[in-house]
Symmetry: C2
């Protein structure tokens, strides 16, 4: 739970803002907003109900619109842009880096994007089209094009003088890239190296030749895992011919890491990754209904399985009472396995070499867990309902369902990945269907065989 | 799903390693391991079943033990260290940075840690105790102490000559810190600034005075959210008297961001954050049983609610068949709300100012969803079971339970946070208990009133 120092400051600002808004003191709201850095204003907008958000946006100085928009999450940003005049959006986008521009434009609904492109002059449109030219979620999409390149045959002294002449360096510059006459990347020189190198040395003498370069079409989650694994701060991006086309910096990667990790959690709960906490009621209702519809179908399927045993249930009400225990335990155990395997796959730990080992490990755990909870539930039921046979039946069903849960939890993500379906998205609902059906079938089926 | 270029390379290495291991070609295994960077060896160890992991560790050159240990996740690292001789562990720890040392030592079980500290000489023990002197999960714990400090009154020229003389700079140095005679932080100078500044200027002329410093006792998740919000690459750490004590770099923060985001997902599925995908069966069974035990209790509670209506159930088996639909829908809807609020809290978006708005928004969604699915399920049941009254009863129960689910999902995390309980850990199980009990009670209770 993050609640930083700054967050407390933002909270008091938010309270001041709210007070000023409610009392209609728009002048002080405007003043309060001007004093905050864009990332804090973005945070306040994201923490506000949609109506307050619109009011606040009206009071923000247009000069800061671009800086604030690039800090917002997709959903919130789209909501704001859709309500802006296309000409104002164009103004706000003018100052954005190519990577932020690409992210902003690509997440907009098609008609809104078209309106904005139509309002641009030729130069801006070209820049926008370039930003959008790489596929979404690729290295090209998140890269920046403001690299500083050096030639291998110049001396450090010349480089230092050139940089001093240039004055300001692009934000987060930690590396200079060395390219030959055809723009091919031949090495890198960390900024700190320029400070420690002999001034008479040539760039080629001090550069690292074996630097890793990211292909421009690499998916962004692969980029993120490279950054994470090798603790990079930035990396050059090259095209098919190994020509330098841009650089990716860690601050863009951090967003991807956060989003990737959140994606599984949100998907498994049947939510859109990007769902805005403060979205309007109708929008949220619509988004969440897909998952509820799927769940209704699986709940009806479970009911149909029970329906097969109507004769048994009508004679033994006790079975109806206990009917939910076995499916529920299977669901929890199966979801544990499923979550573990999904995370292992996301971290790149699960692969063809070890998946068989992993499946058999999870089945062993399922068997052990099944045995433990079978004995326990049998004792509880035998004591509660004074019926040993019933205890044995529920124990058997529990064992069967726990093993089924482990098998489903371990194999489903692997199968879904092969079918190119996101396991986080539908894995949990398929798993629950399996554990419900197997659990009910095992319990009521065995009971019908032995008690009727 | 991350499966990087490098990962494919690692996979082929892993296959080669596996083959060599199985055939007992330990010489080639040793050679393969020497050729890989430590982060890749760590990745291979994390992707291996526990027995293979032990065999591989034996074959790794002792000189690389430290570099590899610091790349491993807590669980895997602890498993390896526990099996090593304390003297070998001490050797491996010697080269580690203070932040990695702190993380490694603090996660060890107490007796193992004691054995290792006992095997250290006085100097190493002092270093270890210093690393452990800040509380776990604080800024002091994850900081590095290898800062480069400058005095405000020297010229850039002197600084440049000093650095050139020094030769190598610490890893990931992007900023120099300016301190006065009493070590108080008075400003920062980005490395790039040294390249562009006039050489005759003084440090105090070019430094940024208004830099943010992190208090040494700040919780690490707050540090992470500051880095994320302001796109920092590094930040100075100061003690209570604003004296510079170290620096935190983004690569350490990336791990915290990933772990924080994963924490909610793993906790909500009843797993330990750090659970090793390839842990031995018994260890995993033990860890997961807590959650299963809790679930068994809630499943029994739901059964007891059904038990209250035994008379009704024994007369109307159809109720037994449909008894799971309402609780199941409530569970899904409630978990959507719960997950959204937990994420909103983690991002710092949910606070005292907007929580009431959020709760009423979620209840509105619950009401709307309840109405939609009530009408749908009523139609399905009326058609399937040819019983309109039954349809109306299940619709009523659905509406009641969806509203209860929304209320529970929105308020539980806020209440638990106030009670200082982690909502991700127990929120989901409490929620499901509520939706089960309310759902069964509403359905069977209404049915008893109107059908009996």
């Amino acid at each position: 739970m993050a609640e930083a120092l700054v967050s407390k400051y933002v909270q008091s600002q938010l309270r001041a803002l709210n007070g000023a808004l409610i009392n209609g003191q728009f002048v002080s709201v405007r003043k309060l907003l001007l004093e905050l850095p864009p990332s804090d204003v973005a945070h306040i907008l994201e923490s506000s109900p949609s109506r307050t958000r619109d009011e606040l946006w009206e009071l923000i100085d247009g000069d800061f619109h671009g800086d604030i928009l690039e800090e917002l999450s997709d959903d919130v940003r789209n909501g704001i842009i859709t309500k802006m005049l296309p000409a104002n959006v164009v103004d706000a986008l003018e100052e954005m880096d190519t990577d932020d521009l690409a992210v902003t434009l690509s997440s907009l609904p098609e008609p809104v994007l078209q309106d904005i492109l139509d309002s641009m002059d030729a130069q801006d449109r070209l820049r926008a089209e370039q930003a959008l030219s790489y596929g979404e979620e690729t290295a090209g999409f998140i890269m920046n094009t403001d690299t500083i390149t050096l030639r291998p045959d110049v001396t450090i002294d010349v480089v230092l003088r050139y940089i001093r002449l240039k004055g300001e360096l692009p934000e987060n510059t930690d590396t200079f890239y060395v390219v030959n006459r055809t723009d091919n990347l031949v090495g890198i020189v960390p900024v700190t190296r320029l400070l420690t190198a002999e001034t008479e040395a040539k760039v080629s003498d001090v550069m690292d030749e074996e630097s890793e370069a990211i292909p421009v079409h690499m998916p962004d989650d692969e980029v993120a895992s490279l950054f994470e694994r090798y603790n990079w701060l930035s990396a050059p991006v090259v095209d098919e011919k190994h020509r330098l086309v841009g650089r990716i910096t860690i601050d863009d990667v951090v967003d991807i890491i956060r989003e990737d990790a959140e994606h599984s959690m949100m998907s498994m709960a049947g939510l859109d990754d990007d769902e805005d906490t403060f979205a309007p009621v109708l929008q949220s209702t619509k988004r969440r209904s897909v998952w509820l519809a799927v769940n209704l179908v699986t709940a009806l399927m479970a009911a149909m399985v029970s329906d097969l045993f109507e004769a048994t249930l009508s004679q033994l009400a006790v079975l109806a009472i206990l009917n939910t225990i076995v499916p529920s335990m299977g669901g929890v155990a199966g979801n544990q396995t499923l979550t573990l395997v999904i995370r292992g796959m996301a971290l790149g730990h699960v692969n063809a070499n070890n998946s068989r080992w992993l499946i058999s490990k999870e089945i062993s755990i399922g068997f052990l867990n099944g045995a433990i909870w079978a004995i326990l539930i049998a004792s509880v039921i035998a004591l509660w309902k004074q019926d040993y046979m019933l205890g044995i039946i529920i124990a058997f069903a529990m064992l069967v369902n726990m093993i089924a849960a482990a098998m489903a939890g371990a194999t489903l993500p692997l199968i879904m990945k092969r079918l190119k379906i996101d396991p986080a998205l539908a894995g949990s609902v398929i798993l629950t269907t399996i554990t419900d059906v197997v659990g009910i079938f095992a319990f009521l089926g065995t009971a019908t065989l032995f008690l009727m």
